[in-house]
Assembly symmetry: none
Homo-oligomer: 219 residues x 4
Amino acid sequence: MPPDDLPPPAEAGPRKQPRDTRRLQLIEATIRTLARSGFARMTLAEVTRAAGLSQGLANFHFASKERLLTETLLFLAEEYRLNWTGALAAAGSAPAAQLEALLRADFHPAICTPERLAAWCSFWGEAQSRPIYQERCGANDDTYIATLEGIVSRLMAEGGYAGNPQRVARVLRNSVEGTWLDMMTMTAPYGREEAQATVLTCASLIFPRHFGPEGRLVA
Amino acid sequence: MPPDDLPPPAEAGPRKQPRDTRRLQLIEATIRTLARSGFARMTLAEVTRAAGLSQGLANFHFASKERLLTETLLFLAEEYRLNWTGALAAAGSAPAAQLEALLRADFHPAICTPERLAAWCSFWGEAQSRPIYQERCGANDDTYIATLEGIVSRLMAEGGYAGNPQRVARVLRNSVEGTWLDMMTMTAPYGREEAQATVLTCASLIFPRHFGPEGRLVA
Amino acid sequence: MPPDDLPPPAEAGPRKQPRDTRRLQLIEATIRTLARSGFARMTLAEVTRAAGLSQGLANFHFASKERLLTETLLFLAEEYRLNWTGALAAAGSAPAAQLEALLRADFHPAICTPERLAAWCSFWGEAQSRPIYQERCGANDDTYIATLEGIVSRLMAEGGYAGNPQRVARVLRNSVEGTWLDMMTMTAPYGREEAQATVLTCASLIFPRHFGPEGRLVA
Amino acid sequence: MPPDDLPPPAEAGPRKQPRDTRRLQLIEATIRTLARSGFARMTLAEVTRAAGLSQGLANFHFASKERLLTETLLFLAEEYRLNWTGALAAAGSAPAAQLEALLRADFHPAICTPERLAAWCSFWGEAQSRPIYQERCGANDDTYIATLEGIVSRLMAEGGYAGNPQRVARVLRNSVEGTWLDMMTMTAPYGREEAQATVLTCASLIFPRHFGPEGRLVA
DNA sequence: GATGAATGAGCCTTCATTCAT
DNA sequence: GATGAATGAAGGCTCATTCAT
């Protein structure tokens, strides 16, 4: 990518910033750059240019490129976790409502931006060869999996659905991930709305007595 | 072309090998190396070492690293296509049988090896920033999508299932992809058998009158 | 100025220290750091950390790393000079006593510490390529050389020793330097006492009628 | 040092050279560069320019700058060893002749060049902080020390000289090293001839019945 | 066709130096 | 005076690519 295609140096603000402000600035620039160039082509020069900062500063705050990437993944993972835990807390105690909240959360506009999806995708691609990434990549949030399995379990019991709850939970989870991946790799990707609808359709097919054809909660 | 039909992995034998033998040797080595090191860390030196050939040979046969990678993706894509078209051709004309064949095909032992999954994953991670990859990455096989939609359409009509066939087809496709991704990023991955069962469970939930709880075709 | 007379190593105390206290603090930290890391690896960050001061302060007080190093060498050279001139002044007028005083002075506990030896060694290693260091490195103290030659001259005349006084003086001087170097590069170094004994043995071999076998002045 | 002061790129000879030829070429260039710039300022760019080769080649043959330096030291150490063992072998069995051979060997024109002296000096300066250098730096050649002590021992017994042979041997050895160091750090250094004469003068003062005033062997 | 030494551009990293606070 | 975040030049190292053999 020729330099003229690059965005102009971002405003970096006052010369001296609190430690965490700078770190956040660099992490956000890393996400943007991962989305633009991919993992293999991302350079620190590009990241710091995107942040409007000097190259030395990335090493000053993160010690190495590797660490900057790791911290970026941790940031995304934490952001993801806060998003679904927050949505769940607001959903009440009915399992159907909880499931809907969880599925919708993954497509919340703050989480499900093209940039963040692309960044996640970059990490997925490298996760196989880097244990530290593998530990933190989405699906491995044990709490998330356990929570989803619990909700599905209760919903199946309550609604009289037959089947293996663990596997059904996995179907739902994989459906979400597959949809995320699809949004990235399709040449003519569909949008967030349609993606969410796809996943809710999956839920409605599995739990027809709780989710209507458009994924709306029944009753 | 299921790998069982492939010539056995050529040893770095006689000095003059047929052109295509060498190319295949290098492509297979590339797949192995992508799986071991990931896209960002893969080097030509590692690939040629894995192939038991000299450094210069990759450039001689593929002109550049970029080309070697592209041809490796094309090879995987063609292998994938031959796998599902072959399975479909053997499945008869009943939509349920065709769907089952299609879903099972993606977990055929020749296609669904840890190495090939990892290689696919590597390409997915970079696809967002490389149009040439995006065009060829799994889900974008237009023929596959159209075929699947046709089958799902007929099955829904035939079985009296309500809903949007295109979206249902997407649910199934994303379920497969999500499951593939899950097999890669899980720290304690489940195996091919359980993955296949998960996808067939998805089918049985969607088409309960055609697929039994274990994914077995009903009558 | 033997270090016993130096102010105690200043703690990084009150914000406003007299100018020279800070400078001395930094110079002592430089000596310690040279000994620990060597010339090539010494960084200002390490020096200021050793001094318990901030990064910017070295530049504030010495303008550049080069200047800090030069001033450190000057400090060592002056310390060395004060040491031998002081010892000489206390030795009376007999050439043998003066020679003994001069030779012993180089192994005075205040001068001949592992840290200071290592620092000297660092400067020697770089002296060849830096004129400013070469001018100040130990042996090039013209006054010292002239003084030593004068003493040796008188001693040889007085004691009836044959030979070229200038060369004999050089033998003694090189013996001292060689011994210093030896103390640094030996893997199992001998101590200050044995080093001093070695040099005095040299003197006793050259001036057997003035120095006993153990280097003690003979009556 | 401004680039214009650098020597023009050396002739590197034919593009492809045997492995050891290239290694030697780079080691010699390292010695030259150490002499010119000192340890701290030596860069790989400078070394390879001096060798007339590309920068990448140094890493190709030595893997890192650190290794290149280590191998250069090993090369110098081996060269030094071959020089004194060869001289000793040619000296016959009389201890006085052996001692003379050993002392003269250190000033042999092939060993005692300004460049090699300067390179040794560079390593000495860093030896304190790098164990691997310390092990290999001159004085630590255990065989050399043991050999010298044996010769001195026999000479003292044979000549009826009183004293501690180990310490006398050390006086001689330190005298040589001090003289080497002196040749480097003196602003107006004396030459090889005078240095050799200085050391032989030392021998003649210690063993007056075997060495004449000019260091010539008596009888 | 095949080899592997050689090249050189590009990247990460270090670190002396600057400067706003 | 003092601090430490910020800068940017320079160096070591990697690695795709070339090419003489």
